[in-house]
Symmetry: C2
Subunit: 323 residues, 2 copies
């Protein structure tokens, strides 16, 4: 029960998650403004966009300009999403980006088949090709992500046996291809997770794969995001993806399929108030969240950006009561 | 760590919390419609309104009509809030209401002084008078509520020593006045709680006051509501206040001081998905939440009312995969 980590590492995904789903065109300058504000918060990792087909994701059409114009702050790692060789080669054009290969694992065979037209064997072969590509381009491969680890809208509940087998197979496949993974991103893509499911799945992964550090990627679609994150903390998880202002989908706009990640500043507040260091200045992150709200032009899912943090209130109360 | 209860009892406060803070006048018929929908969800306790000064809380001016018109479903307990003898006598006019006395405890002396103009001693005296009044009117007194148990905007952090002393003193006072309390409502009035604080405070209260069952009243002002509720579940807490659709303040409207309780249907989903029985039909509660959204006329904080529950998705996936 006292498994809480002393500190956590937050991977900020707001710019990528947010700019990807927003309908209105967002000016490149505004995107850069948000990224630059995030760079000043103390967060150490920022995913700034995606190198993907602009016809499919118009919101990412200006990703080259965003990367060129953003201010690079020493000590901050900037990354971008890519899905194929073309995207990878684009990312590699920019020395300011940290580029590595991530193996995507799909426990849901139905999703694989329906949405990607592949059998599990064909997908494993794609991952072998990805490893070869990364080796040719000198790109490290250290992570695997487990999609829809808690349930899938197409396949339903996902058994932990299936998850274990898939990770086990992947570890064998990577070792056979000269790659040693060190991180497993457990993803609640479709918001099926509950705190108990997080404890269960994370516990099994930690037990079966002690060499893989767990990172949690949680969505707040059904309001359980921070409860699930807390369950992860109880299991000693130290790595979390999150999104400033909860960008990545505005549930208020009925974007059913696209509700955002857990909200960075709400998560920072929760951690810091519980004595878990985030390395992030909450007030600076709240300022970035206000910029995010301005930039997307509508109410955002984050709570603390409306309610305010406790530090100022605490200081005021202290001054008033003299305690 | 395995302290999860097998079932929880939910006290629905949406009608009272919601109608109290909404600016726009809500038609009495709409209020009744929401209460009637809630009565069909399986929830066993509904707080339908407040008998308070209509000049101070105009949204409650029609509470008499609401109580007269609502459909009384057997097995459901209906209650109303009251703050003084006049309100209590009004509530007692209605046999369809369950009426009891609640002692309000304020660990924050600053709040007591600033907002109520009383010293702790004067407030204790008020509670003695309340007990006498309830005895005269044959109204049971079983509960005490601990306001701002996790922190107060006026006083800052609240020490658990202070909480223990206050509850101890109250138990002595009630016993001396012939009253035996059996429930302690631990309230996060100003949204200072974190999951760790909930575990800490609840743990101490359980240890020091084993005859008092803990009820949690949590607000979601900073997005930590369900994480805090989960922490309560981990401590075996069985009683929770919550509010359909998260009524009680719309954070999106910058009602800074008035963010709602935890959202009933999101909490029901979390519990049921973790195998904790709520006695509530989630789909019926989602229907009530949709009515709530319609009635207040703006987006509500609840998530599942937008995203949908998992049962239908799960059934569809099952049918499609034949598993």
């Amino acid at each position: 029960m006292t498994g809480l980590p002393k500190s956590v590492m937050i991977f900020e995904e707001g710019p990528r998650e947010g700019f990807q789903v927003e309908k209105g065109p967002i000016a490149t300058d505004d995107k850069v403004r948000l990224i630059d504000a995030l760079s000043e918060t103390g967060v150490k990792h920022i995913q700034v966009g995606s190198f993907v087909d602009p016809r499919r994701v118009p919101g990412m059409a200006d990703v080259h300009d965003v990367v060129k114009r953003m201010k690079v702050v020493p000590g901050v790692e900037y990354s971008a999403l890519w899905m194929n060789e073309r995207g990878l080669r684009s990312a590699l054009e920019y020395p300011q980006l940290s580029v590595d290969g991530k193996l995507r694992l799909y426990p849901s065979e139905t999703f694989l088949k329906t949405n990607m037209g592949r059998t599990p064997e064909q997908h494993a072969q794609k991952n072998v090709e990805l490893i070869a590509l990364c080796r040719n381009l000198n790109v490290p491969v250290k992570q695997a992500s487990l999609s829809s680890a808690f349930g899938c809208n197409f396949q339903g509940d996902i058994s932990t046996d299936l998850l274990v087998r898939l990770v086990q197979d992947t570890l064998e496949l990577t070792r056979a291809n000269g790659v040693e993974l060190d991180e497993l991103i457990v993803t609640d893509t479709m918001a099926w997770a509950t705190p108990e499911a997080v404890r269960h799945v994370v516990g099994i992964m930690q037990e079966k794969f002690p060499t893989l550090e767990i990172r949690l990627h949680l969505h707040d679609t059904r309001g359980l995001g921070l409860a699930n994150a807390y369950a992860g903390l109880l299991m000693g998880v130290r790595l979390f993806d999150s999104s400033v202002a909860g960008l990545g989908g505005c549930p208020f706009a009925k974007h059913k399929g696209a509700a955002g990640n857990i909200c960075t500043e709400d998560f920072v507040l929760m951690c810091e108030e519980m004595g878990i260091a985030t390395g992030i200045n909450l007030e600076a992150m709240l300022a970035a969240a206000s910029i995010a709200e301005e930039v997307v032009g509508h109410a955002v899912p984050g709570h603390t950006v409306k309610a305010g943090s406790l530090s100022e209130i605490r200081a005021r109360a202290k001054a008033a009561t003299g305690r």
